[in-house]
Symmetry: C2
Subunit: 323 residues, 2 copies
């Protein structure tokens, strides 16, 4: 399957595994890349730049196909050494950098000057246009359905992907709400040239997540996510569970909500502990509305081959039926 | 273009003009039906059942193609004579009834017994399954992007259409977020067998709406809608303007909001006055996020022919590119 995205990234199918904290490790990444997609390591899953270099090396021993590294740049009081992580990406000869968070012009320029392709992930057309002006090679755009941070605009993928494809010159990768070949065909029909999936890849065999969490993703329907941190304008979409329900209830209570009101609920509740322990109600788990369309835990190769076959079938059948 | 929806409704293209209060009048409806889609009159736009019978007759003088009537059943203290409106639909030999609001089993059965096809409009898979059990012929399902009432689940069309198509036996009509042939192809790819459009048909020549309002739809981007009445659990998506911004601000203020707090803003601000006066900031105007994809005011025939051609092209190109 050839699109500008497959050409740009040197991959067989326009399917990208989105950068996910604690989950984007070598086993999953290599499985995706070996299956013809693009696996993406998450830089900040590694405690130090040196550990990232080791993880890249470990991934390379598992696949000779291209893979990427995600670097999410957020304003914090004690930022990680982003520069040094980027140096590792460049020095290790990684082919693709996925940037997210703020739109770091200097990182983009440095990476591109070193021959690294840059895909910037964002949640609105105006941010995508800004990243395009800063020289990125492609845009991965997250619709309202997505796991993690959908932004505050709440524009569904059906409209957002089409709007982005109309307005951008660089290729668009559709992200959020896609889990199968039908969703992939829909994204391509809207003008995207590739798809990015996070939640769907969490429910695959090599995802480093406790089986209980994978089962919870299978059990969930399309209504079983919550939007949290809305009052902080840092909205995140997570699996509906006891903790996220309580966060939502607190944020909605009359009188307003400050971070201190929910701090006890979320402190220590996020991150790797929950993914590793399998205590589904023990913490916050990013999840897209696409959980409603996930029914099994295949290998990445099975998933990708099935998606591509279904996507092709949709286009072939549509061309026949609607000629 | 043949799908179960075109067969069921006796139309050439699987494109339906959704029932819209004050807008679903004979001129627009006939234009859509003459162009090969299904135009839909709104019963309650007419002050009495007798006036609806006259409107049906007027529409029939403008088209010999099938058209439908929408009957939106809502619990109110002084309900309109729903039964009598339904009798008019049946007695006048209208071919298609679009029900919305609650899921009136007895109306569905009465209409079907009289040979009228029933399309029920709803916003969630569970309500669609309930309507299917009650015997409807097709489901029109509204995603989060839609104008008017998206419900309280907030599931994007990309996921909702696919989930509905997987779980229902009757054909699914995708509604909300569709304005062009790409969106139509995406909906069909997801498993829908037709598309329903409201906002897009508002920006056509025969829509009985002041030119200023049509211009406002063209000017708006995908971020230019507001969700109002969220605090009343009767959410509506409207065009962003001075009034809807103020409603949203009031609903979000700490301390909570009751209907009396926004009553002065919305009393008299809804409905036909605004559509007719063209005072864009004078009232509330239903609008889908798809306003971000609307750039012109074509005739219904131009719009539908263009959509169908683009949809066919998307499938044909996809079949070639991804074989």
């Amino acid at each position: 399957m050839k699109t500008r995205v497959t050409e740009l990234l040197g991959i067989r199918y326009p399917i990208i595994q989105g950068g996910m904290q604690w989950i984007g490790r070598a086993e999953l990444v290599a499985a995706v890349s070996n299956a013809g997609g693009l696996g993406v390591l998450t830089a900040l899953t590694q405690p130090t730049p040196e550990a990232l270099a080791d993880e890249i090396e470990r991934c390379r021993r598992m696949t000779d196909r291209p893979f990427g590294v995600n670097l999410t740049v957020l304003p914090t009081t004690t930022p990680p050494p982003y520069d040094k992580y980027l140096d590792v990406v460049i020095d290790c000869g990684v082919k693709v950098l996925e940037t997210a968070g703020s739109n770091p012009k200097e990182f983009i320029q440095k990476a591109r000057a070193a021959g690294v392709k840059v895909v910037h992930k964002c949640t609105s057309v105006r941010h995508a246009l800004s990243a395009e002006r800063n020289g990125v090679d492609a845009i991965s755009i997250d619709g309202f359905e997505c796991a993690g941070h959908p932004g505050e605009d709440d524009v569904g993928g059906l409209v957002l992907f089409a709007a982005a494809a109309r307005q951008l010159s660089v290729p668009v990768i559709a992200s959020g709400g896609i889990a199968d070949g039908r969703g992939m065909a829909a994204a391509l029909a809207l003008g995207a040239e590739g798809v990015n999936m996070g939640t769907r890849f969490c429910a695959t065999r090599k995802a480093p997540i406790h089986p209980n969490i994978k089962q919870a993703l299978l059990d969930a329907g399309e209504r079983d996510t919550n939007l949290i941190f809305r009052t902080m304008r840092n909205t995140g979409r997570v699996l509906k569970n006891a903790i996220s329900d309580e966060v939502v209830a607190t944020e909605r209570r009359p009188g307003g909500c400050e971070f201190k009101d929910i701090h006890h609920l979320v402190a220590g509740a996020r991150g790797r502990a929950t993914l590793e322990s399998g205590d589904v109600d023990g913490g916050l788990v990013w999840a897209s509305q696409v959980v409603g369309l996930i029914d099994d835990v295949p290998s990445c190769a099975e998933l990708i081959e099935r998606m591509v076959a279904e996507c092709r079938e949709v286009f072939r059948d549509g061309a026949l039926a609607f000629s």
